[in-house]
């Protein structure tokens, strides 16, 4: 603009000194210039008016009208370009106004058509532009030569040309952009996408061609087999491949041409946007395609390889191509036809990627990481469900997160899917625990410090605390090597036991380490390795101690204290030990040793005594048997029950959980035998004596009938019931109950076992309350199908009835709490109504001595709700009342 004003100022001064001749000359020249320029610009390739134009322009310049000449010429160009170039250019795309956006329907014909139209339109507008540039160059030369004459070669030779061309470029792009139809970017995007897809399929085909030599023909495997190249490492292999790639592909050239043409008409950024979005689109598709729902293999490497193989190759070729053009064409743009083949498509092969390419690679990789990460995070729940198998997916996710750092996204998304899918009433506690353990294991890989695990685990723990059977399930998982989870053959129990083992090993290792490293050295190493907590860390948790993700610790954390866990374990152990008919407790000893390491020896003391009882029992049992051998009993027993067939578990009852005692009359010979055994025990172990728990234990029975023999493993009560039928084939329930020594209802419940096995048959007796039971000697008697053949082993029958030999923890609690019942009723009589808190506090205040009130609020609550269920209390609006 400065140039403009100065020259026009010049003109004004000159205007006064103008003669008529000069005016005529000027007007003549001006008219000539106008018509010449119009003719030239419209002449479509005809340069016959160029000489006149140059002369007229020079003449006008002599009169100081250079700026006028420039402006007029440019305006002419603009008009013509607008009229011819731009309108025609946009007309090409008019028919695709509605076609382009519908990306879903892949119409190859339409795609092809669009592709051709784009090329054609761009070619045309480029040639138009080149023609105009030629014209402009003429003018520029004319102006320049005048300038040179005037200043005797002191002027910057290029300034006018550069100025004019930049002006022209501006005109072209502003004209085009001003009339840009809104669907054009879409069409461009579509075009690039189509081209890239073509390219990637070509690349895939290429790689298959190369791998034909005995390689697997699966594309995925191919890509994986070519993994050796890492990011940024463009070794010769790639260069070679790239050479093949770009030589074989005119495609890249075509695309490059399109991009170049777009740049030419000032659509640089739009073109970049379009192919960038196409590349990202393709990359996303590829990631989704590769990653899919398969978590058993790592896909990150193949994605990286693909980035190297397709988009980066493409970009490299493109950038090379464009770079070549600009460098070659800079001196005289527009004089070379864009269609002219470029023999020097020099991918110089030096292997140094250009800065732009590196930047692209980083962008693409980040995008790939982010896409994969989002994909994996969205499916994290499923991934963790089949965790040990899905470890590769977790590993991928870990790498992605290291790159993107979007851990909080993971935490949020995973928590919400947990709430939605796992922490619902429909999920079994076992499943939740199993998932919890898997989560711990999986997240431990991603984040060894356990910061995110803390956040993710909290909702699960919170939820599990509200479940009644949590402790039981945990203990089962801990102890039961075969897994208490029938629908999970992978056996959660196994994994926890392994965990116990693993921790033990790691502890051993650390102790060894401690011995080797001197403390100071270790401290220095620790200090050097210190890393700040991630920002997401909960500051209230404190980071002074090095967090160690300890699965067992986190599991115990659910319950709150290890005492409850140990107590539950004790009950389960007791149950298991009491039902053992051999003394094989190796597995239990192993588990106990592991638990001792974790929970401390003192808390497992009682359990240890229990196991010790079993070991002692075995020894004592052998001793007692040995004494019998010495003094053979002269009298023969009618029943096949000798001391050989009696084994006993002798327990130290003080250290066992309270045991259910139920009176039962054992058959006379067995009773005799037990007395014998006890007598011998007293002889061996004076002054100790035995107290039989007659209802406990197990009996292995073999029943022989007329036509079959059956084996059972049953409780003593069941055994004594069936033994009553040895002498008497038919019993009335009342009499049988009396003989066995249990109430009638208990008998009726237990006898069902034998009925269900087809050993006994039930019929109505004379009295309606009395049932009659008869022994089924032959199967045909009842018409029961003979599915039961001899030698079938039954499970311990007691389990069927949910009968337990040991009082459950809840029962124990209820027993302990009954002491406070009269306190509570007393309080409620005085105060009328009380809230739970107040009852709890009052009990704490007054029940100091024997028995001290040491129950938790939850325990009190469950006891009170028990009282409510028994209709002793009433519960309204958070207050407890005495039931009137």
């Amino acid at each position: 603009m400065t140039c403009d004003t100065s020259s026009s100022g010049c003109g004004l001064e000159k205007l006064e000194s103008l003669s008529d001749d000069s005016i005529t000359e000027i007007s003549e020249n001006w008219n000539g210039f106008c018509s010449a320029s119009e003719a030239l610009l419209k002449g479509s390739g005809d340069l016959s008016f160029s000489d006149e134009l140059v002369i007229r322009a020079k003449n006008l310049c002599k009169h100081g009208l250079a700026s006028l000449v420039e402006q007029h010429f440019l305006r002419c160009i603009e008009e013509i370009f607008e009229r011819n170039g731009a309108r025609r250019f946009w007309n090409y795309f008019e028919s695709y106004r509605n076609a382009a956006p519908s990306e879903t329907n892949k119409d190859p014909i339409l795609e092809e058509e669009i592709q051709q139209v784009i090329c054609k339109a761009l070619e045309e507008i480029s040639s138009q532009k080149q023609f105009q540039e030629k014209c402009l160059l003429l003018l520029a030369r004319a102006l320049q030569s005048y300038e040179e004459d005037k200043l005797q070669g002191q002027a910057n030779p290029d300034s006018t040309r550069v100025y004019l061309f930049s002006k022209y470029q501006l005109i072209v792009s502003s004209v085009l952009l001003a009339s840009l139809p809104h669907h054009f970017p879409g069409i461009l995007h579509w075009y690039f996408k189509g081209r890239l897809e073509e390219l990637s399929s070509v690349a895939a085909a290429n790689s298959e061609d190369e791998d034909e030599l005995g390689m697997d023909d699966k594309m995925d495997l191919d890509e994986k087999s070519k993994l050796p190249y890492k990011c940024g490492d463009m070794d010769s292999d790639i260069n070679q491949k790239y050479a093949v790639f770009s030589e074989n592909n005119k495609l890249v050239k075509n695309i490059g041409m399109v991009v170049r043409n777009l740049r030419d008409i000032g659509f640089t950024s739009m073109a970049e946007d379009a192919y960038a979005s196409a590349i990202f689109f393709l990359l996303k598709d590829k990631v989704h395609d590769l990653a899919g729902d398969d978590y058993r293999s790592s896909v990150l490497e193949s994605i990286k390889a693909w980035i190297q193989a397709v988009p980066l190759q493409f970009l490299r070729a493109l950038l090379d191509y464009l770079g070549d053009f600009t460098s070659c064409n800079d001196p005289s743009p527009g004089l070379k036809s864009p269609l002219a083949s470029h023999p020097s498509l020099c991918y110089s092969g030096t292997g140094i990627p250009s800065e732009g390419l590196v930047r692209w690679q980083l962008r693409l990789e980040y995008y790939a990481y982010e896409t994969l990460q989002d994909l994996r995070i969205a499916k994290l729940f499923e991934i963790i469900v089949d965790y040990p198998d899905s470890a590769p997916a977790i590993e991928d996710l870990k790498q992605c997160l290291e790159y993107t750092g979007q851990h909080s996204k993971l935490v949020d998304s995973f928590i919400s899917s947990l709430r939605y899918r796992l922490l619902t009433a429909g999920a079994s506690t076992n499943d939740i625990l199993h998932q919890y353990v898997s989560t711990i294991k999986a997240l431990r890989t991603i984040d060894p410090a356990g910061v995110f695990l803390e956040a993710v685990g909290e909702p699960i723990r919170e939820y599990l605390r509200g479940r009644k059977d949590t402790i039981k399930c945990i203990v089962t998982m801990l102890t039961d090597g075969t897994g208490g989870n029938p629908n999970g053959p992978g056996s959660s129990g196994d994994s926890l036991l392994e965990e116990l083992n693993r921790d033990e090993e790691s502890q051993e290792i650390t102790t060894v380490d401690d011995d080797i490293n001197s403390d100071e050295k270790q401290a220095w190493i620790n200090a050097q390795n210190w890393e700040p907590d991630p920002v997401e860390a909960d500051p209230s948790k404190g980071s002074r101690y090095r967090r160690k993700v300890d699965i067992l610790g986190m599991i115990v954390g659910i319950i709150g204290s290890k005492d409850q866990l140990v107590n539950e374990y004790r009950v389960m152990l007791a149950e298991k030990l009491l039902n053992k008919s051999d003394y094989d407790i190796d597995a239990e000893i192993r588990t106990l040793e592991l638990l001792k390491i974790h929970f401390g020896e003192s808390s497992m003391q009682k359990c240890e005594i229990m196991l010790n009882d079993l070991i002692d029992s075995k020894r004592t049992n052998t001793n007692i048997k040995a004494t019998i051998k010495h003094q053979l009993q002269p009298e023969q027993r009618d029943l096949d029950v000798s001391l050989d067939n009696l084994n006993a578990t002798i327990i130290s009852s003080n250290f066992w959980p309270p045991i259910q005692d139920e009176a039962v009359n054992l058959p006379e010979p067995v009773e005799q035998l037990l007395n014998d055994y006890a007598k011998r025990y007293t002889e061996v172990k004076t002054p100790r004596k035995l107290i039989w728990k007659k209802n406990l234990g197990s009996v292995k029975l073999e029943l022989q009938f007329e036509d079959r023999a059956m084996q059972f493993n049953v409780t003593p009560l069941h055994a004594s019931i069936i033994m009553q039928f040895q002498d008497q084939k038919k019993w009335i329930s009342k009499n049988l109950a009396a003989a066995v020594g249990v109430p009638v209802d208990v008998l009726n419940r237990r006898i069902n076992f034998w009925i269900s096995k087809g050993v006994l048959a039930e019929s109505m007796g004379a009295d309606s309350a009395d049932h009659a039971f008869t022994l089924v000697e032959t199967i045909n008697d009842t018409g029961k199908s003979g599915t039961i053949d001899g030698g079938c082993e039954e499970l311990l029958a007691g389990e069927d009835d949910g009968e337990r030999s040991v009082a459950s923890v809840e029962d124990q609690l209820r027993k302990e709490m009954t002491v406070y019942e009269k306190f509570i009723t007393g309080m409620l009589t005085n105060f009328g109504s009380m809230a739970l808190d107040r009852i709890h506090n009052t009990l704490k205040m007054f029940c100091i001595a024997d028995p001290t009130y040491d129950k938790s609020l939850q325990q009190l609550q469950s006891f009170l709700s028990g009282l409510v269920a028994e209709e002793k209390l009433e519960f309204r609006d958070g207050m407890y009342f005495l039931k009137k």
Partner: protein
């Protein structure tokens, strides 16, 4: 009919009292110094027929400078033959 019976019983010391008069722990348990009850922590009877954990009464007897007495009845402590 053939059967193998596995019975369960608990053992107890055949003493008149429930707890040891010295450590106040149950006889069927063990004295404070022991971990395992039964054979490892036996009872012992004095001539006066009072029973204690062996470890408890030994500690008591050893701590007395002169002739030890039964902590329950103050008679001279003699181990029951």
């Amino acid at each position: 009919m053939h059967c193998r019976w596995h019975a369960v019983s608990s053992w107890t010391w055949d003493a008149q009292d429930e707890t040891c008069g010295i450590c106040r722990m149950a006889f069927d348990g063990c004295c404070p110094d022991c971990k395992l009850p039964g054979d490892d922590c036996p009872l012992i009877w004095g001539a006066c027929n009072h029973a204690f954990h062996l470890h408890c009464i030994l500690k008591w007897v050893n701590s007395q400078s002169a002739q030890a007495h039964c902590p329950m009845c103050r008679r001279e402590w003699q181990f029951k033959e």
